[in-house]
């Protein structure tokens, strides 16, 4: 007999197989999910949820798709949270502290409670990356926030109303565009292509009889 557990979706009790995730348990219970479901493998942040195990004080956060059900789990999904994304023209910005002060001034209201870090299903040092952003260290903020899936559980828990995923995203875009060194070989190759340097060789390849292309493919040298 399959091991079963009792869980509570929005306070209503369902008995579900213990091996399921919160997401598959909801489907087992009969829900057709529209909100609060996405990639189902932990990459998109659509399925953030809050839960508490009956009898325990701690309020936990997690992704419905990667969190296994437990006995006595009281679950609510957070299919949407009003994080506040500020709009900008990335071409008009520069990677300095002033950008953060202007676009996300509330980061300076952080009270250091670290609730964001505790809430992160990716185990990121969320408060730390906000601290990097405060200092204008975009590179450090970008690196520390890189694995963010933008589920918003940090923001749900933040007493200062910070939209952490949006701050990390801005830092990463600034870092990728302005701080990381240019890939010169890439710039050069784009110029060569625009210059038509490969046109002749490409036309020649495309005009070869298929048998000749097969021969070329099957005997091509593979870089070690």
């Amino acid at each position: 007999m399959e091991e079963m557990v009792n869980v509570y979706f929005y306070g209503k009790k369902y008995t579900v197989p213990a091996a399921l995730t919160i997401q598959t348990a909801m489907e087992y219970a009969g829900y057709t999910l529209k909100r609060g479901v996405g990639c189902r493998h932990g990459f998109c942040g659509a399925c953030a949820c809050i839960y508490r195990i009956k009898g325990k004080n701690e309020l936990k956060t997690g992704l419905a798709c990667t969190t296994q059900v437990q006995e006595g789990m009281y679950i609510t999904q957070i299919p949407y949270f009003p994080t506040d994304k500020r709009t900008y023209d990335i071409n008009d910005l520069s990677a300095n502290q002033k950008v953060m002060m202007e676009l996300y001034p509330e980061i300076y209201s952080c009270i250091g409670c670290n609730a964001c870090t505790k809430a992160c299903p990716q185990s990121l040092e969320t408060m730390q990356y906000i601290a990097y952003a405060q200092r204008g260290d975009m590179k450090a903020c970008a690196e520390a926030s890189f694995d963010c899936i933008m589920c918003g559980t940090c923001s749900v828990r933040c007493p200062a109303g910070i939209s952490h995923p949006m701050v990390g995203l801005l830092a990463r875009r600034l870092n990728g565009k302005y701080i990381e060194p240019e890939a010169k070989h890439l710039t050069k190759r784009v110029e060569e292509i625009n210059n038509g340097d490969f046109d002749e060789a490409m036309a020649e390849m495309m005009n070869k009889p298929v048998d000749e292309v097969k021969q070329l493919y099957n005997t091509r040298e593979i870089e070690k």
């Binding site: 009969g30 479901v37 998109c44 990716q122 694995d147």
Partner: protein
């Protein structure tokens, strides 16, 4: 002893460990062309004729399609029973983009930048797409020892010489510019200190041209594109599916009928150009396989386009990614990125043998895993499934301690979530339904056949990859063909005058179904997989 697996699996791991040093001293041999053909014919699911049906109606009548896709093609429209007043227009735009993934977003950005009034409608949220889940990387021939012609050869050969040459040409020629465009939007590619892109091999590449952003490559690209769409103020109508293409009396696409997924209300969008960028079909579970795909990957765009008269190409060619998770059950079917093999892990059977080169093309490696399991060299998993090992501890030995956390942090996290430390023990895999090689047939400019102002881009389009796609060519395809569609749509709408939108083609299709005696009892497109259990 660290034992995160059941006993039989730990026993097999002893054999994997015993052969590791010897395996690492030699590289497994590459298969010959004949050996590959033989392996595919015997073990690839595309060769299992029981899982296909003949298409009975429409432009591809007489050809075959996977059973589940054929069922959708043979089902009727919601609009044959649900009545919608299409004379009432809710949205009127130049360019309507159906789908908010990598292709749809790239398309909308380029169309907007070219001056078009463009709108995205998407079934779930913008960014809820297979693009977000792409892990390993994106190809572009931008290194000194490489060229677009070499990339062409790899792509064309890897796809069994079945791809449309003009599409492959566009893919590889515009690849470096796609990377540059993304980088200038702020996408953080893995680079050396001097700015040189860190590039690796993928299955079937002859040069190291796989660019990556750790193993969050697609997520990094998708979240940046989404941010840009919002910054540009492009309207995005979320939780809204297209359920039919509208046409006018001249046979042009005229917009789409939309369905608000939350309220069940229908809406009408009129447009001068329509782009189908609805993505893949993993959630159709062809051949009964689990899938690495997004919840919304239900082949909707294929149905929309087909019913409007646009033919499909290679709709019977499906990619099974060789390495889907098969243990623990909570992550069944989840993608284990090919990058795990790019950075050194071998495929090893239950006896500890590296039975194949880990970087053969995906169809070949998927067939290899199936062969090992069928012929008794797989590892048994509770629940009756089988798998082979991906020897991940090799990565740390080859690249040094910390390589796994640095290069494939998502994989490390996915397994650690269930107490499996892939630095110490190998992980068990089996093929997972990953990609729709075919789709709506497009010409070299990205337009579907027959309907002059209907484009398709991304996974919904067919012909770019022939009958097998290489790793890193899909992220590339969504960017290259998404951008191309945006530019072409923005040029096209200026010369289009739309007449009166109608659904005559939907009625005609329904008549055709009736004449063919087809009554599946379903409606299409599917929109959402039927996962809710209603048993008592």
């Amino acid at each position: 002893m660290y034992a995160p697996y059941p006993e039989n699996m730990m026993e097999s791991i002893k054999k994997v460990e015993a052969t590791r040093a010897a395996r690492m001293a030699t590289e497994p041999r590459r298969l010959t062309a004949e050996e590959k053909d033989d392996l595919l014919a015997k073990f690839h699911p595309d060769y299992n004729s029981d899982s296909f049906a003949e298409i009975k109606v429409g432009p591809n009548k007489g050809q075959r399609a996977p059973l589940e896709l054929a069922n959708m093609l043979h089902s009727t429209s919601r609009l044959m029973t649900d009545k919608v007043d299409i004379s009432k227009i809710d949205y009127d735009v130049d360019v309507l983009v159906i789908g908010g993934g990598g292709a749809g977003s790239s398309c909308a950005i380029e169309a907007h930048n070219a001056g078009a009034n463009v709108m995205i409608v998407t079934k779930l949220r913008i960014g809820d797409a297979n693009t977000m889940m792409a892990e390993g990387g994106i190809q572009a021939a931008d290194k000194e020892n490489d060229s677009p012609v070499q990339h062409y050869l790899d792509c064309f050969g890897g796809g069994h010489f079945a791809a449309r040459p003009e599409l492959v040409k566009r893919l590889v020629t515009e690849a470096p510019d796609a990377i540059k465009w993304l980088n200038e939007l702020g996408v953080e590619f893995d680079k050396d200190a001097d700015g040189t892109m860190v590039t690796t091999h993928g299955g079937g590449t002859s040069r190291k041209r796989m660019h990556a952003a750790k193993d969050y490559s697609g997520a990094e690209i998708m979240r940046t594109l989404r941010d840009e769409v919002i910054n540009l103020g492009i309207p995005v109508v979320e939780f809204t599916s297209a359920v039919e293409i509208l046409k006018d009396e001249k046979g042009q696409a005229a917009g789409a009928v939309l369905l608000n997924m939350e309220t069940g209300d229908y809406l009408v969008a009129k447009a001068k150009v329509v782009v189908i960028a609805t993505g893949g079909a993993g959630r159709m579970h062809y051949n009964g396989f689990p899938t690495s795909n997004h919840y919304g990957a239900t082949a909707d765009g294929l149905i929309l386009g087909y019913r409007a008269g646009a033919p499909l190409l290679y709709q019977d060619s499906i990619q099974y990614h060789p390495t889907g998770a098969v243990f623990p059950s909570q992550i069944l079917g989840a993608l284990v990125t090919e990058k795990v093999r790019s950075v050194g892990a071998q495929l090893v059977n239950a006896n500890g043998e590296a039975y194949i080169h880990p970087l053969e093309t995906r169809d070949v490696n998927a067939s290899g895993v199936i062969r090992e399991c069928r012929e008794g060299r797989g590892v048994d998993v509770p629940g009756g499934l089988k798998g082979v090992w991906l020897d991940t501890p090799m990565i740390e030995i080859l690249g040094g301690e910390g390589t796994i956390e640095k290069r494939i942090p998502a994989m490390f996290r996915m397994y650690m979530n269930y107490g499996i430390d892939m630095r110490k023990v190998p992980i068990l895999i089996y093929p997972t339904l990953h990609y729709q090689n075919g789709g709506l047939e497009i010409n070299g400019e990205g337009f579907t056949n027959v309907i002059p102002n209907l484009l398709a881009a991304g996974e919904a389009a067919g012909g770019i990859h022939g009958t097998n796609r290489l790793m890193g060519n899909s992220l590339l395809d969504v960017i290259v063909f998404g951008r191309n569609a945006g530019k072409k749509a923005a040029a096209k709408y200026k010369e289009v005058t739309i007449g009166t939108p109608n659904l005559d083609h939907v009625k005609a299709y329904d008549e055709e179904l009736k004449s063919a005696g087809l009554d599946t009892g379903d409606v299409s497109p599917l929109l959402l997989p039927k996962y809710a259990r209603h048993e008592r």
